[in-house]
Amino acid sequence: MKSLFQYELIFLKSSKTFWVLLGCLLLGTLYGLQNGRSYYQKQVETIESIKENDLKTYQESLKNFTADTITQEGKMQFYQATEASSAMFSSRINVYWQPSVLSILSIGNRDIYPYYQELLPISLYMRLLKNEIANPLTLLTGNIDFLYIIIFLIPLFLIALTFNLVAFDKESNISSIIEISVPNKVGFYGKRYLIYVTIITIILAIMFLIATIIFLPKGVEFSSVFILFVMSALYTYFWLGLSLGINLLGKSSTTNISILLVCWLFFTVLMPSVINQIMINKYPVETEKLTNNIRRIQISDDEREHNKILAVFYAHYPQYKPLNPLKHDELSFDKAYFAQGQLNDKEGDQSFKEMIENMESKSGFLNVSAYMNPSMLLQKMFCNYSKTNLNDYLNYLRYVQQYNGKVKDFYLKRTFQDNRITLEDFKKNYPKFSY
């Protein structure tokens, strides 16, 4: 075993191809990590600027509670803060989806999914799907990140190193000597493959160390990085195993590399894309359905219409129904407007639920299919840890939906009670966003 190891090492040491490929791989790793980090930083910076603006708006809102009501401007500010119906009209809700530090390793779909929104308490769906500015052409092409190097390039590196491990001996006419001198051919080549297992494990360890020490921020969960390292190692062992199996078929080196490349194309591109496309077909998502709830709410000044809307609203939300309804309510328009907005959002919730169910069914099936394909499985693992997959996006949307519901409830309760918000009430009861 020791001499075999030495032989293989001497062979690799003298191989220019090995060093060139290794150099390219490490350069690619550095580039992928740098790319992932700059993407992560850009998103963090954007979110930070939103948070800053949000804080400013919050502080201004607090100031408005104590605005000088002698001046016209101060009076307006005071009413906008303390009258629930006015506050609801002018309120803006900033929500954001903080990227996980592990998204430095795998950008996933973070460049496609919206990660921040400015919402209004009502008409949630008008703004929920608005997205970051991006060039669709670069989105189509995709990114080079750390995961890309592992899923796409490492298998190629291994194929290049091992496609002729058995065939080389045969083509150099030394296989007969080997057959005489070793008792078990499979065992002999298996041991030689173990050397490659060791080499690739070391290379992966170096890659993960570079990622952890240089690119990932301090305090990153070591256990997650370790699990990803183990999964990546298992993935590379799959490719080495496949290469050994194909080598042992005893075909020529050209046949071996052809089969291995077809396998690479099959596992990394063809199978995921075919399954994904079939699932898109099976579970189509009609975002267009939400257009019914994106449109701006409009109601007339007719009090009879307001009463009609409010009757439907109270039937759905009895908690807001006043115990002693006024004969002539000055806030009739505002209340009916918000009620209509809430009923519209409720209808939107149903369409949105159907959309999400379809997306989840699609995602669920794809995640199960991933167990048939190591490339898909590794992609799934990385995206799960870096929270860059569809399920993470849907969780974020669900949270936003709930949070929006809480903010809406805060204003609706007060609008339908005494239409008042006090500073204490606002400080204590206004829902905080934390996702």
Binding site: L129, L270, T287, R296, M355
Partner: protein, 468 residues
Amino acid sequence: MAVLSILIKNELKLLSQNKVLKWLSITILLLGIIALWISINEYKFENATRSYFQEKHRRMWLEQPPKNPHMAAHYGTFAFKPANPLSLFDKGIRNFSGSFTYLEAHRQNDFVGSPAQNSSIYLRMGEFNLSFLLQFAIPLLILAIASGMFSKEKQHGIYSFITTNSVSGSVLFYAKSLAIFSMILGIIFLIFAGTFFISLLSGIDWNSQQIGAILLLFLMYLLFYFCLINLTLIISLNAHSFKSAFIMSCSAWIFLFFLLPRLASNFANDFYPLPSNIAFKSAIKKDIDNGIDGHSRGKREEIVIDSLLKKYKVDSTNKLPINIDGVLLMKGEGYSSTVYEIHFKKLQHKIFQQRAVSTYLGVINPFLLIRNISMSLCNNNLENEFDFREKAEVYRNYFVQKLNENMMLKSKEGEFKTYKIHQKEFNQIKDFSYQGLRLFQSLQSCMIDIILLLGLLFFIQLFITKIK
């Protein structure tokens, strides 16, 4: 010429015995059938959905209760990107761009509902459709056949025997090249003709522009494959063995088809970074806030009012023959649209700069060229995307200003709550309808790519003629 045709026949005979070619061709055709089935279903679904919602929102527009014109402008409508049958051949950026937008007064809303936004991460591992087969699988087939054509003969000494006995190297090269080309021609003819006729049978209508685009696309793919066949043969000719020719071709395929496009896209993002949506919107808001918004009465509004009072020689806005609110709304809309246009043009310029990176890299990568040509001819490229956005914005301006004009001419100041228009007036606003770019415009948008592809082909031919 006679020698060339004998040589081609001989090469074709050899190719017909090639098992790799046979099995890969069958696999590609089978995959083509699956891709076509999926694409036709997708197209039909998209077409039915978009048409349904476009009609529904038109109905909603017409059936809205009587209201003030400006309120109707706020109620707004939607512009849906129509389904495009050419997407059967190449979807281009379609999955990554929004499919509809809400059109209303004062605001240019984002285009939302991109299919990618609803997709899982596996979408990024590749999209399975005809363009995948045409741009990835067939080049792989070419590589598998062509990389061994010279190297094997050189290994066995046949090449020097033939070239020293009256047949020049370039003639032999063309014989091999044309033989492979005729096989590929057969395969892509089957794909194109099959797609066209199956889609016809499944009820998809093609207009003359689209048929022209398909024919041109067919021609462009032929040029691309001819280029690729020759490049692989050049590698095969210069390699010392079949193995090294094959490995070199494979490496080139991986680099050109998988790595370089992503590198180009990442570099483009680094060189020409796009602003965040929040920064983009705040810059527009800042500029609009300093102008006329149509609802408030600031300095600029006062200038407009003064000029009108002078023009009509009256001392108060309620004595004007037109409604001042309508005038200010029209001015405000015009102003915000101009501001938006200026900012959007800047953004558009940056996006085109990003694309230019991959266009110029096309000099060394024919894949990038055919990708751009294909998505352009299939009306699914950036130009089409921007054209749709522009037309939607033109329509938004049209209906909002038409309604503001109605308010300005037919109502008086202070009649906002009492002056109302009805279905007759709503009906006078034409519905939004969009036709993609004409074939000539699509061709214009990929002219550089076509010229570069032809240039590449020309240089390859120069090289071939020098082979002895």
